[in-house]
């Protein structure tokens, strides 16, 4: 046939395109893509590799055993340590790396963000301030000022909940 050369060229071009496509595809698509579905299977392991930042109250109590025991025995044991103090992972690493264990002031100065010491009022308000939509099983106060004055105290703008209450047991300090 007169046009055989044209066809040969076209077929050659097609082969090059197809082979090129397959080569590029093999290079671009990860090996484990499509094993269990239209995704990269090792992405699950990637996600699982992240280190949990909340270490749990038991881990906190390993070092802070006195506070841990008081917290557990008291009536304020429902909120966990990290609810108020923030995640403890960095704190444990800082403690381990600096071997400043037993010197919390030094840790806080060196790594102010390693753990949150708490403001002594903001954390309490999250749960204990009366809000209309809240179920009424918890102990609520309408405002800090009203609460302080109700109990015969003197309220100032610097008044904090922990002035009277132990935050770990919620007991009134004497």
């Amino acid at each position: 046939m007169r046009h055989a050369a044209h066809f040969a060229r076209l077929v050659a071009l097609l082969v090059i395109v197809v082979v090129g496509f397959l080569l590029v595809r093999a290079k671009m698509v990860p090996k484990d893509f499509g094993v269990k579905g239209h995704f990269r299977l090792s992405a699950i392991a990637d996600e699982a590799a992240r280190e949990p930042r909340h270490i749990g109250s038991d881990a906190c109590a390993e070092c802070h055993d006195d506070i841990g025991a008081a917290w557990r025995a008291g009536k304020h044991h429902v909120p966990q340590c990290e609810n108020c103090h923030g995640p403890g992972l960095l704190h444990t690493k800082v403690v381990a790396e600096d071997s400043t264990r037993g010197y919390p002031d030094k840790i806080l100065t060196a790594f102010p963000k390693a753990i949150n010491p708490g403001t002594g009022i903001r954390e309490c308000r999250w749960c204990h301030l009366k809000t209309f939509e809240r179920p009424s099983a918890l102990k609520y106060i309408v405002s800090v000022q009203q609460h302080v004055e109700q109990h015969g105290g003197t309220y100032t703008s610097a008044s904090r909940c922990i002035d009277c209450h132990d935050p770990h047991t919620a007991e009134v300090k004497r």
Binding site: E47, R53, P79, Q80, E82, P135
Partner: protein, 271 residues
Amino acid sequence: MSQLPPDDVTRRAFLETVARTGGQSFLFGSLFVNTALLRLPQAGTDAKARAEAEVGKGVIYGFVVDTTKCIGCGSCVRACRAENGVPDGYNRTWVEQYTFYPDGEVFVNSPNGGEDGFADPAPTRNKPTGTEAPMRGFFVPKLCNHCIDTPCIQVCPVGASFKTDEGVVLVDHERCVGCGYCVQACPFGSRYLNPETGTADKCTWCHHRVVRGLLPACVVSCPAEARIFGNVSDPQSRISRILATNRVQVLKSFLGTRPRTRYIGLDSEVI
């Protein structure tokens, strides 16, 4: 008259050639194309049967939100942000405050996702636009529903969104190109584009914690036990017992996404 092609090609021969090469290329092409096309309906057939097959295999995670217990403290939102490094202004989980007034108006509020709590110094506060006092109200924590029939996975053009065998919807941050289709496809607003990574991000039910035998950060931090997470394919698990003894509802059931996150005490006004 212009020059015609050489006359040794008859009309019959020309048509035969066209038909033959056309047929050959169709058959050749169909080796690649048709198999791909035929696979699609198979992959989509009867999601219910697939889900049931999944249940038989092992662990299927579920999440129950008890709106009657939520006190709106925002502990879950803060824990989630810290655990997952969620950038400010974005949320994997958030708490909505619903307030009902006697005239039938409903106000929904979620300042900063509820992260700073819902400070409300006056329990008899007035309606934002009038003087009426609220009639009733409650909090609704929201998070990814980890749907069985996910719109977000369907629209992903690069296969970066997927579902694990345990029913958890995850994002592959290496493959994600940040097109944002999934963010728009999710009818629950559960996804966002993380400005730090440029990829889509969402609640993972703390997959990295769950694989280590821990509970999700929001579940651990909830002081009201309003969030329950567990294996729903184990009839003895706490979540299974809760699901067996409560009447539960899902968000936007009319969309047919079949969420795995279920709600106790969900009001019809909750969207």
